[in-house]
Symmetry: C2
Subunit: 191 residues, 2 copies
């Protein structure tokens, strides 16, 4: 059932790096992205699939991880992503991704979760990554999705009244994510 | 399996208007949206749930339907949405929705599909709708999701080589949506 899958599809940032993800699986995930809706059906997104050690090592230093965890600079060796899906905007097609990036990445992460793979959207990317990836000028880097078998546990917590939205790690290294309660995000009901 | 659900989750624009959607179902769908990821976990989206005839009738004239179907001005009476989920940005929290709107709306539409409900994202909204909905000034209208039991069939077609992305209806009123092939949207593989 979708509800359980949505619940399990959390952002994971520490992985079992040695458990590889094959290219066929990455293609399958991008196919899920492809089959999602697209504003005006324009379909301006393109993808790079990366599971090779060489390029993964070059990509990693360009990523910013978990902005709220000031004392953690990202996953250590052995806990880094097993693969990346790089999401690009083809500016020959459109100058904006509209909703498409959220739709596509959600299909990818739900599909990954169904296969026991966790992931994280990373939008904090240093400008140098464009050159590392040798992107053509018409391709704009929007987002990286880091993927791997999770090596951490994530707890979705109901936000405390008056509490914040800052995620945090407890003494057992469990990652906690406060979610606004349903009644707070429903601004009105008209029946 | 998610793949089949993603395939079935198409944009539907004609509905069995008399098959109502109850408020509990709308709340369930917004809960799916709530449980999706959010950039920096900010969670700036708010929602209005509408299944009452009075407000639905006031909303309808403010919506633009299927821009490519020039000769069709939208669903006729009896085929209009049974409900709407109105997606709002709470600008007290953030000035941008980032990926969140795509993530949230995809969770909503996948969850609806699982219940036999079809939907359509509508971003073509006349400015007057802000007043119709009596929105507080800190709420910005981003998107409406029209919902109902589908009264049309949608075919996902592989885009012909050199073909376009314009959706169209055939003589039997079936709606066709050309999708770019997988090999076209994968810009590179690095293993």
């Amino acid at each position: 059932m979708l509800y359980d899958l949505v619940l399990k599809t959390r952002s994971f940032r520490r992985f079992k790096e040695d458990e590889s993800i094959d290219m066929e699986t990455l293609r399958y995930l991008v196919d899920l992205a492809r089959l999602g809706g697209s504003a005006r059906n324009v379909q301006p997104l393109k993808y790079l699939l990366v599971n090779g050690a060489g390029l993964k090592a070059k990509i990693f230093p360009h990523l910013g991880w978990a902005g709220y965890l000031r004392e953690w600079s990202g996953p250590k060796e052995g806990e880094r992503p097993a693969a990346y899906i790089v999401c690009l905007l083809d500016t020959r097609i459109s100058n904006e991704a509209d909703c498409d990036l959220g739709i596509a990445s959600q299909n990818i992460l739900l599909g990954a979760c169904e296969k026991g793979i966790g992931g994280c959207r990373i939008a904090s990317i240093s400008p140098g990554l464009h050159d590392v990836l040798e992107l053509d000028d018409h391709l704009t880097l929007l987002l990286l999705i880091a993927l791997g078998k999770p090596a951490e546990t994530v707890s979705l917590d109901e936000q405390e009244p008056g509490g914040g939205i800052i995620y945090w790690r407890d003494a057992d290294e469990m990652h906690h994510v406060p979610k606004r309660p349903l009644q707070e995000i429903i601004a009105g009901e008209y029946d």
